[in-house]
């Protein structure tokens, strides 16, 4: 296992270099000069200043020199400085990732707690003599969740719970009047998390339900029943363990997609996460930030995939790596 992990990690390096080359090439191929765009937004008429700033950020160097400078600094842990914000790219990414990580983690937690639980529950009651209204609800509710776009629900929730009722904050990560504590952060997380996770809760609910129903039809489950094991043990030890394999894969991929795909929710809730940062930086041709963010996200995907693979082995002992 250790050799496997080490080999996977080493294979990441050429992949990241390839990613950086592609992103660098694409960012340079885009029309528009980052310094001119930056100054144009402030309506500054000073060609000397434009040239001085281009010098400062190395934009007057030949492209290979620019790339090599960036790469060598990157290996020294220096991702450069944002043209637009002046801040170190590493600081910007850390802050953006911290904010996105918090909402993505909360979303995955919601998916696990609500989606998986309800999915497993609805599989357990499947074909049982429960009231039809309940079984239908358990079967149809996730379809409804998947059908309604999360961002539309988010806007609606802001109007109801934020503006009309005043129960929850409408945007941002903290209330400047109340301080910066965990409870305040939790309050700010509720609406973005629901908006971000809604469709995934529905999807995982259905996935858990279908998988569990399939698993409960397996021979080894029948054997467990025949052995006279208590129902809870059959369902939640033998059945659930097998069900978890595809669910873990789904959660791993979901976490990765939430880290990069939360832009719309970050947009609606003015949540200063990595998605909003990446889109703003791309629009403004803030190349150092775009490069740094892309490498970070690619690395995260790779690490997450690796983590999921390792979890497979833990959950399902049949999975082994040579």
């Amino acid at each position: 296992m250790t050799r496997y992990i080490a080999r996977r990690l080493l294979s990441v390096i050429p992949l990241l270099i390839a990613v950086s080359l592609i992103v660098f090439g694409m960012s340079k191929a885009l029309p528009g000069d980052p310094v001119a765009i930056f100054l144009q937004q402030a309506d500054i008429a000073n060609p000397e200043l434009v040239n001085a700033m281009r010098d400062k950020y190395g934009l007057n160097d030949p492209l290979p020199v620019q790339y090599w400078t960036w790469l060598s600094l990157m290996f020294q842990g220096d991702m450069g400085e944002s043209i637009r914000r002046g801040e170190r790219v590493s600081d910007l990414l850390f802050r953006g990732m911290r904010n996105t990580f918090s909402v993505a983690t909360a979303s995955v937690a919601l998916v696990i707690v609500v989606g998986w639980t309800m999915g497993v529950l609805s599989a357990v009651v499947h074909n049982r003599a429960w009231p039809q209204a309940i079984t239908r609800f358990l079967a149809q509710a996730p379809v409804l969740m998947i059908s309604i776009p999360g961002f539309a629900v988010a806007v609606f929730m802001v109007l109801i719970f934020g503006i009309s009722l005043g129960w929850l904050p409408t945007s941002g990560v903290s209330n400047p009047r109340e301080g910066d504590d965990v409870i305040d952060l939790a309050k700010h997380l509720i609406l973005p998390t629901i908006g971000l996770a809604l469709a995934s809760v529905g999807g995982n609910w259905r996935l858990a339900r279908n998988t569990m129903i399939e698993v409960l039809r397996e021979d080894y489950i029948r054997m467990a029943h025949a052995k006279g094991l208590p129902l809870w043990r059959v369902y939640f030890v033998h059945g659930l363990r097998t069900t978890l394999v595809p669910l873990l894969t789904s959660a791993g991929l979901l976490f990765g997609s939430l880290l990069t795909g939360s832009f719309i929710l970050e947009y609606i809730f003015a949540w200063p996460g990595i998605g909003l940062l990446l889109v703003e930086s791309t629009v403004n041709r803030d190349v150092p930030v775009v490069m740094g963010a892309t490498i970070l996200i690619a690395s995260l995907y790779i690490v997450l995939n690796l983590a999921v693979d390792i979890l497979y082995a833990i959950v399902d002992p049949r999975v082994r790596y040579a």
Partner: protein, 628 residues
């Protein structure tokens, strides 16, 4: 009563004469006239002051306990004269004393646990540096709002009156030959750390801002110093309160440029030397200014927190604490800002979007305003394009845009439709120099230019058809409403116009982009003007880069610009600027479209009004916010 007495006397005289004529015994009647005077007292109430002392308990923050007495006059009784009867023959006014209560409020100080009770939270769209607190280096308009709370310039350009006002300098004088400007500094000004503000500080700052060879200039990025730098020679200290800026060439605008321009803000020299001039840092001790508020917390992408500077030289600002809550730029941040205001998370929201104006106007307890500012929206017009080489055609095109109808239908108060070459309410505005919508004049101008209406409904002059493109930056499938509206209007008036989309990212490329002269027909652009003085704006006529207002090179206009640079007489300057606008209306180097506005909305439970302040972006409105 007087009438009745007179009638009795006349009747007595007539009766005596009649008796004598009849020969009867003579009875002498003596007419006695009695005048009865009734005296009626009219009560007139005259106020005398009675002082009632009333204790008002006011919570004040623990850190800033301030004693103040408020005297408030409350007229309790209204004095009214009452006429009782009309038969009064003589009025004797009896003065009756009534109470006029003067309430004297004595503020009793109570220490409260929450020191942020008098905080004001302002929602701002900010995407740039959170540490941009040095007014001479900040570049983003929105960021200036909090930067200008902490740092100050020598003078203030008052956009309302378009005059200079004292700030860190009490007075100023431009030399008669316009080769220097002398500033007399205000007494008793201190930096936030308590150090006195001195003439040597001004020398340090002007050198770091305007001299390329200054060691602290190299570290900084002074985005807006380009207007003044070519004129700067040096600064010398004349005495303990006076400095003189010597110019390299005459400039009648020296006081504006060096006293009030965005780049001329003062930073505490030892702090600059210790912390560097431009190194990014969220350390609040890095920047030390003189302004009414002191920064105490900087959280990137989240907030800037400031507390009141109790030692500020000006009137005491209203709020103990200002918190600028930072939102993303664009529509996302704008919506979130309005939502936060409606939910009570912020007290004031700035740059409120047009799309939410109905929400703001209809919500009880929310006040909203849009202030016009000094950003003129306009269209470029390429006068070298064959169709547009005749200025009458350019005028016709400019007069074909029904700005008022369009902006009333789409933008409400958030922009001001504008067909003139200077700003509303300004003494420099030549109101007669306009290019307002006028279909009849469009036809007349085209006919004067030799065009006649063709069978296809398009103006033509020989082989030349009135055919061109309106260019815009953006998605080819989603042209802006403004350009679409105007295109339809032009087509209705006999032009053949198409829309042409360009990638927004290359619009700043003036060699090959959409505004390159060989590519441009008509295109939307826009410009900010840093001061309300036309010399700054019209300088762009001659600037020759892509921020210039026009490609056009007009000898009279160029000369007028050079003249007003050294024209110290206000009336002469105004008349020259008026002439510049006449030339612009005649030559149509660009087509004015709008004057931008800055939207502000606020919760009336916290503030009663927000004024636009004296500057465009602007520092003083923050303490002109009227608290409840």
């Amino acid at each position: 009563m007087i009438l009745r007495s007179g009638a009795a006397a006349v009747a007595g005289g007539v009766g005596a004469a009649a008796l004598a004529a009849c020969g009867e015994a003579e009875v002498v009647e003596k007419t006695v006239t009695v005048t009865v005077t009734e005296v009626k007292e009219v009560v007139k109430e005259v106020p005398v002051e009675t002082v009632v002392t009333k204790e008002v308990v006011k919570e004040v923050p623990v850190e800033t306990v301030v004693t103040k007495e408020v005297i408030k006059e409350v007229p309790v009784v209204e004095v009214r004269e009452v006429e009782v009867e009309k038969v009064v023959t003589q009025e004797k006014v009896v003065e009756v004393e009534v109470e006029k209560v003067v309430t004297q409020e004595k503020v009793v100080e109570v220490m409260v646990e929450n020191p942020k009770a008098d905080s004001l939270v302002i929602g701002l769209p900010v995407t740039a540096r959170v540490d941009d607190l040095d007014g001479s280096q900040v570049y983003e308009f929105q960021t200036k709002i909090h930067a200008f709370c902490t740092s100050e310039s020598l003078l203030l350009y008052d956009y309302q009156t378009q005059t200079l006002k004292p700030r860190l300098a009490e007075s100023w004088e431009v030399a008669p030959d316009a080769t220097s400007v002398t500033f007399t500094l205000r007494e008793g000004v201190t930096w936030h750390n308590g150090d006195p503000f001195t003439p040597e500080d001004v020398v340090f700052n002007f050198n770091r801002i305007f001299r390329d060879d200054d060691p602290y200039h190299a570290e900084g990025t002074f985005y807006y110093n380009g207007f003044a730098q070519p004129f700067y020679g040096d600064t010398e200290v004349l005495d303990g309160r006076t400095v003189r800026v010597n110019l390299t060439q005459p400039d009648a605008l020296a006081a504006e440029k060096f006293g009030a321009l965005d780049s001329s803000y003062m930073a505490h020299p030892p702090s600059v030397m210790e912390h560097g001039n431009r190194e990014y840092s969220t350390d609040v001790d890095k920047y030390v200014g003189t302004g009414p508020y002191i920064p105490v917390e900087l959280r990137p992408a989240e907030l800037v927190r400031m507390v009141r500077n109790e030692n500020w030289w000006g009137p005491k600002p209203d709020f103990d604490e200002l918190i600028f809550r930072l939102f993303p730029g664009g529509q996302a941040g704008a919506d979130a800002r309005v939502n936060a205001l409606l939910a009570g998370e912020v007290d004031v929201a700035l740059y409120t979007p047009a799309t939410r104006r109905n929400d703001l106007f209809r919500t009880p307890g929310i006040g909203a305003k849009w202030f016009s500012n000094f950003v003129l929206g306009y269209f470029y017009i390429n006068h070298t394009f064959p169709l547009f080489q005749d200025n009458r055609v350019r005028q016709a095109v400019a007069r074909s845009f029904d700005r008022v109808s369009f902006y009333e239908a789409t933008a409400g108060p958030t922009v001001l439709p504008w067909g003139r070459f200077w700003f509303p309410g300004s003494p420099y505005l030549n109101d007669a120099a306009e290019l307002d919508y006028d279909p009849a004049q469009v036809a007349s101008l085209m006919q004067d230019a030799g065009f006649s209406m063709g069978g296809d409904g398009v103006w033509a002059n020989g082989d030349m058809r009135a055919e061109f493109k309106i260019q815009y930056s953006g998605d080819p499938g989603a042209p802006p409403d403004r350009e679409t509206f105007w295109m339809q209007g032009l087509n209705d008036l006999g032009f053949s116009v198409e829309l042409d989309a360009w990638d927004p990212a290359i619009r700043a490329d003036f060699d090959s982009g959409p505004f390159a002269q060989q590519n441009l027909n008509v295109g939307g652009w826009g410009v900010g003007v840093f001061l309300g003085d036309p010399a700054f704006a019209y300088q762009r006529w001659t600037a020759g880069d892509f921020f210039a207002l026009s490609y056009m090179d007009n000898a009279e206009m160029n000369q007028l610009y050079q003249d007003i640079l050294v024209e110290a007489d206000a009336d002469n300057r105004t008349s020259k600027v008026h002439r510049m606008q006449e030339i612009a209306a005649d030559q149509v180097p660009w087509i004015p479209s709008t004057v931008s506005t800055l939207g502000a909305a606020w919760r009336e439970e916290k503030v009663t009004n927000v004024t636009s302040g004296a500057t465009q972006y602007s520092y003083p409105w923050l303490y002109k916010v009227a608290p409840v």
